[in-house]
Point group: C2
Chain length 220, copies 2
């Protein structure tokens, strides 16, 4: 919903919706690779991911992965290509702001699944959290945000702070070089056009899901 924030900025030619699907393809390819599969068709990828073959072929064509008609895609080559497109062929250091229950859950989630995106810096304002360690990462005072984010080269950040603290935290992250933010705070962020924000708003998710349980069933 905040993807429009990029539109005026340095714009990748691959649409955001395609970028969002690439990790799903990557996961399916990695799973196929683990099963020893070497070639996969778009129909097979469609079955695994729930997207249509047409969608998959169109998405992959953006970066020149056309496969071989009647045969399919080379699993290892395509996975490697997607991994490089996404920058996941190397470790992506990330910063986490907010070490409450949500932040702690995110940090643990991150570290219990081997993942190229690694939370390498955690910040909080609460004196009782600062200095504690979450899965090996020491929680630092938020005063050190700019310095540590720059030193660790974090260009990706996760915001798990209360709504009133979100905008300031985002601004400080951006000033320190962050280019993409996963925002869990129930607040709309104002960020420069070159910064990509993905907002996970739990309230909105629950409100739209309510429709399927209690909403009016329309037969327009």
């Amino acid at each position: 919903m905040s993807l429009t924030s990029r539109e005026a900025g340095r714009r990748p030619r691959i649409p955001d919706v395609t970028i969002k699907r690439l990790p799903v393809y990557l996961r399916a390819l990695d799973e196929a690779g683990e099963r020893g599969v070497e070639i996969v068709s778009s129909a097979e990828l469609a079955r695994q991911t729930g997207f249509t073959s047409e969608q998959i072929r169109k998405d992959l064509a953006y970066f020149g992965a056309f496969g071989t008609r009647g045969v399919g895609y080379d699993v290892g080559t395509l996975a490697d290509r997607i991994r490089r497109i996404l920058g996941l062929h190397r470790v992506v250091p990330a910063a986490l702001v907010g070490a409450g229950h949500l932040g702690t859950a995110l940090a643990r989630y991150n570290l219990t699944r081997p993942h190229p995106v690694r939370i390498e810096a955690i910040f909080d304002v609460a004196p009782d959290k600062v200095g504690t360690s979450i899965e090996g990462v020491t929680v630092e005072p938020v005063e050190r945000l700019e310095e540590t984010v720059r030193a660790k080269g974090c260009r990706l950040a996760i915001l798990a702070v209360p709504a009133p603290a979100a905008q300031e935290a985002a601004q400080r992250l951006v000033a320190a070089g962050v280019e993409a933010i996963l925002n869990f705070a129930p607040a709309q962020l104002q960020v420069p056009a070159h910064v990509q924000v993905q907002h996970i708003d739990l309230g909105l998710e629950l409100e739209s899901l309510a429709y399927y349980t209690a909403g009016e069933r329309l037969s327009v």
Copy 2:
């Protein structure tokens, strides 16, 4: 990504993508109402929500809210209409499975923002969590899931359990009458076609965001 699970089932005529935008419109309308605004144009709603006027007019037309050309939509009437479409004009009881850090964060989030979706039942397997209280809701053993979910009439549920526990929890929720699941577990759920699943997969979110920080910049 799991929205296709509904396709073969009882199908609402409003597209899922429209349903996902309705809470955003509702929030903008409520904010306008709080500012004393009585009539709002689609252009104004576009400015507030980041969607286009055309998209908004098309979405609202699904349920017969056409506004008045050159004037706009009546804020109170439209908000009320959307609230009823989504079933948010009354309390929507929800169940939460998993009272770890993530579940606790979700329960607190839910209760610190006045919200029609209310977590009224919480379940966990850990003996040290059962019997504790999160924001006034007592954590029950997962053995009581079916009984409590039925008794409280929860048709919406949030899954915040580890991946290996997700499918069984989902099946038990569905058997107890749940029709919509917000799934935070990194696992694809197999559910009947009438059940709507919204999957929030933190790994996928971070992987797609990595593109904007470290990925190849293509100029196809």
